[in-house]
Subunit: 306 residues, 2 copies
Amino acid sequence: MSLLVIGSVAFDAIETPFGKTDKIIGGAATYIALSSSYLAQQVNLVAVVGGDFPKEDIKLLQDHGVDTEGLQVKEDEKSFFWSGKYHNDMNSRDTLVTELNVLEHFDPTIPASYQSSDYVMLGNLSPDVQRKVIERMENKPKLIAMDTMNFWMDIAREELDKTIAMVDVLIINDEEARQLSGEYALVTAAKKIMTMGPKYLIIKKGEHGALLFQGDKVYFCPALPLESVFDPTGAGDTFAGGFIGYLAKTDDISFENMKRAVIHGSAMASFCVEKFGTERIVNLSNREINDRVQQFIDISQVEINV
Amino acid sequence: MSLLVIGSVAFDAIETPFGKTDKIIGGAATYIALSSSYLAQQVNLVAVVGGDFPKEDIKLLQDHGVDTEGLQVKEDEKSFFWSGKYHNDMNSRDTLVTELNVLEHFDPTIPASYQSSDYVMLGNLSPDVQRKVIERMENKPKLIAMDTMNFWMDIAREELDKTIAMVDVLIINDEEARQLSGEYALVTAAKKIMTMGPKYLIIKKGEHGALLFQGDKVYFCPALPLESVFDPTGAGDTFAGGFIGYLAKTDDISFENMKRAVIHGSAMASFCVEKFGTERIVNLSNREINDRVQQFIDISQVEINV
């Protein structure tokens, strides 16, 4: 099935305890598109970059089968730029620079060939822009998933709530779930958030795995216990890409299949953190992905009869 | 199979954000014995209390099928007493009072009828006393599991290392694993700790579940996402009791069965935190336990082919 991905395509500069990068390709939609490209039959990208964005990085996306007709290039403007520095525990980071540039007035257009996209992944962006994408799709997609972050909860809560009310799956982390719901216990937070619109909720807990909720059903997917995390940048987006990519590939939105999709998202994210930026996820084989998925199965599955 | 349990049988006074108790029955061996009594065919207790320990609390253990021949009663002394106060997040606590009393000179004796115990659970105690129990068993048990804590790492590291070298399974939490190994990443910590003696290692991560290691094999058992934790006191001991109790019941120490044992430990611990002290685990039905184990299966198991 075809998947429409929207989000930032941008430059990042990253510093971790293991080293630092110059400006490298980044952005939520970049990670989502690359990650989902290994699974979904067709990935359609809606995003905006400036004239400074290298043609070879656009070609990199195209080489992964990503359709870039919906990628606007504003020749006279600059691409979105984010720079951050991770603390020693790799769980927290300081933002050093945020230059919105082309993102400031991003008006997403959906090419005609994208209109029949079956699945939609709204990567982290202004909730206003995310909602425009939903409104501009002439055919209702089978499933809309959405990522967001605390930043939008702080400055655009009303807009955010409107967009959240329109999506099927919300994908956020534990702290964001607590902030969004005002509840500390994740089960309670999840129940509250599911009354806001989404039928499904995924709460990512970083090194502690991820929880999938639907009604009273819960699935807990572990994280692989890793010897080292090199760079967490993009791991959440890569998770979202693997999750929605697997749903698009299998075209099955049952809870049981969503569990498998969460495993695929987790597997893709586990690759992402192994190297800087997109380095690890631009060059994966199906064999590597299947082996990694198998590792998740091996660490979590048990033969047991009660 | 029969299980020998050693540890403290004591008084606790607990304060949580939900309320506080007077002196109630507590101690590692109390929780382990009660928890394992629902699973193991025979539980043999080695511990010491003072003359102040209520006869009805000893009878409570006996009513759960726990053999108390190895429970020394020092009529002229006082029982071990611990008092603690949990912080609002329930993950950290302050110790308000620790009175060693009878524990200070505890010299464990193993009754003849306990000598053929197949499984041994060394609850948290001075590593010196734990080792005496191993040395005083005339027949080598099938499996010895051990709990300990950072306190002993701080003040008795040499003694602790000697005892750890003699056990098959070490059960500790994530911070203790980091302290014991000097490694931050839990996989690396686990590898190092398994060179110290234990073939199996369980690292408990509280609300984030538990990891079981053997050689290169890893199993990740989730924690149930709970709406509220009322009192975490004894949860680790109750986990240990459920784990070793299931092994004793099934008499199978394969990795696959240890996974099931970790699920049973987790299920028993999930009851423990629902009420103050031992209140919830003194009165469980097999039906409740099986239903809880089923909940762990429901949240973690997936039908998937790679």
